[in-house]
Amino acid sequence: MNVLTKVPGTLAIQDRWRGMSRLTREIIKAVGIAAGIAFLVYLPFLQVLPFAQIRTDLSSRGASWDAVLFQIVIYMIVAVGLNVVIGLAGLLDLGYIGFYAVGAYSVAIFGSPSSPVTEWAVQKFGFAEGWAVPFVACVPIAIAFALLAGVMLGAPTLRLRGDYLAIVTMGFGEIIRIVLRNVGEVSNGPQGIVEIPSPPGPKVINDYGVEVDLFNRLDHHYWYWLALAVLIVLIILVRRLENSRVGRAWLAIREDEDAAAIMGVPALKYKLWAFAIGAMLGATAGMLFASHQTAITPNDFQLNLSFLFVAMVVIGGSGNMVGAMLGAFLITYLPERFRDFQEWRPFAFGLALVLVMIFRPQGLVPSRRRAAEFRDRKIEAEEAATDA
């Protein structure tokens, strides 16, 4: 069945691929991945004309290309994280922005010398004026808080199914934002927090011949490379998880939780893991975002962003990391590239969302398993229609 439906040309390529020795295939794969990464690293400097059209800073209203690249990679990290929760474990999380906010605010609250908490610590313990937790130490703090948030949200609510979970997670995302807005004594309220620290790095000479920090406010491509490196590490980690016992447990739970439980998969435990890992990835993205922004307010973490994140994963093809990242890329990049049509972007986005879902519900690049499932469902539906 599967072979018959293939176009002859693709069959030949696949046959040739299968015919190669394992070593050759591994080498070709490695070279391909290396070339891909090299291209991604080179992207900020892309000036060769026909290709440079993809830059976002060609028109006067355009945003800095390097900064856009950074934002794309940040959302790709988010998509990879949310894909663990939605795509692999099948838990509909509409409050992912909450974890992103936890990561961002952890760095802000502990790392900024002007946040209420560090100021309180300076007074209480007599640290030097302007003391704050260094960025490197903020990272484990943020991760720990994200884990805590993931477990705190997950433990009471993961017994709920499907849609109930969706509304509860949505509420959680809102609660985090409102608490950040209201508890001014910790988060500085609606004004937000400024002076968020940057990752440490050596001094570099910039284009104007001035010695500056590696991660400064003008050279966004260093940030982009940092985010890219983080993304690649996370992809490798998640890929390993996917192909492990944990990943198989997630798939089993996604397909049929009761059946998985009967087969001896401790569903609650693995769902909690999915939540916690998703939370950590979301917080990592939030951390980088806050550090790059240097200033954040609770309004940066509106509920709409949660929907946007879910849309990224589903449009790209939930369950497939590459698909989720493609979704993140499209949803972040296209609006930036077409900034000249700013007012029309949300409308176009909504329309595109509906059209993609109607004509390609499995997503643009679905995982193989997912695509097969959709085919089955469609055939099932057609059979049911002809029967009736």
């Binding site: 939605i86 109930y164 509420g171 609660i175 209201n182 879910v310 986005f349 969302l353 469609k378």
Partner: protein, 340 residues
Amino acid sequence: MLEQLGLLVVPLVAWDNLFSDLPGHTVDGLTRGAIYALVALGYTLVYGVMRLINFAHSEVFMVGTWAVLGIYTVIGAAEGDALWFVIVATLVALIGAMLASAGTALAVERIAYRPLRKKNAPPLIFLITAIGCSLVLLEIFGQVLHAFFGEPFGRKTISIPSLVQTEQLIGPRGSLLTTDAVTITNLQLIIFLGAVGMMLALDMFVNRSRLGRGVRAVAQDPDTAALMGVNQDRVFMLVFILGGAMAGVAALLYTMQFDITKFNIGFLIGIKAFTAAVLGGIGNLRGALLGGLLLGIVEVYSSTLFDSSWADVTAFILLILVLMIRPTGILGESLGKARA
């Protein structure tokens, strides 16, 4: 840091505030909750029958408020009109809002959801489509119509003439009924009675009429219902029309109280109404009423106890607590059987 924890321990003054006017706060909460409940009916009907969170329902409500504005503008209604004219204008606006909202809901069903049903797509796909539809409807009023017709469409808040002037019906001085216990305005009474009346009518319709029996049958078991001769597609359409009409009523009542509309006015109400529906047990009509009223009361109480900026947090925490104890809401699902 410690003062912060102190915030959760409610000061005695706040309790005094609450109890000094408990009936008044309750009336406020019931009025607010009645509107939530009406909108919640749309979520609960669609969910009960199709197992779908229709996120576009908040925009169905929004379209209703614009319909009210449109009708007032066309018939030239303004503040201070004669009583008979106010009554006629309100009734026309009621019908117009119901039609507009029901039409929008129906259009969403036909254009977006039906093709997905034909493909038997999983729930997540419906959800994303619903979000997409919601965004399209938002932007139609916020951008597309603005580009073609200019004001009043666009992203600004637009005021709607308040035809019914607020008067104290029951209260301390100069009211119809004089009492010190509670103050009730005519608007509050209209909103509460209107909403509850519509809900009773809907409940009767679903439980007593032939069409309603079809709705319940599909909710319980779509396949068996089809075998018994119920036309599923027609039931789905009916459900969207009913939910839309209720949202239209809610839109009129809302504009009566708040006198405004905006392209994204539905967002917050939609989320609250959905919370109310889940609280009461999504898929259960009486649950929507109970959940809506409870949510309204809790919001008003917590605004008094803490601060209005904490109202949403209390609402969601209440939801989480209820779901922890009763995972299918207070009344559970009864439009169909409770399916996990």
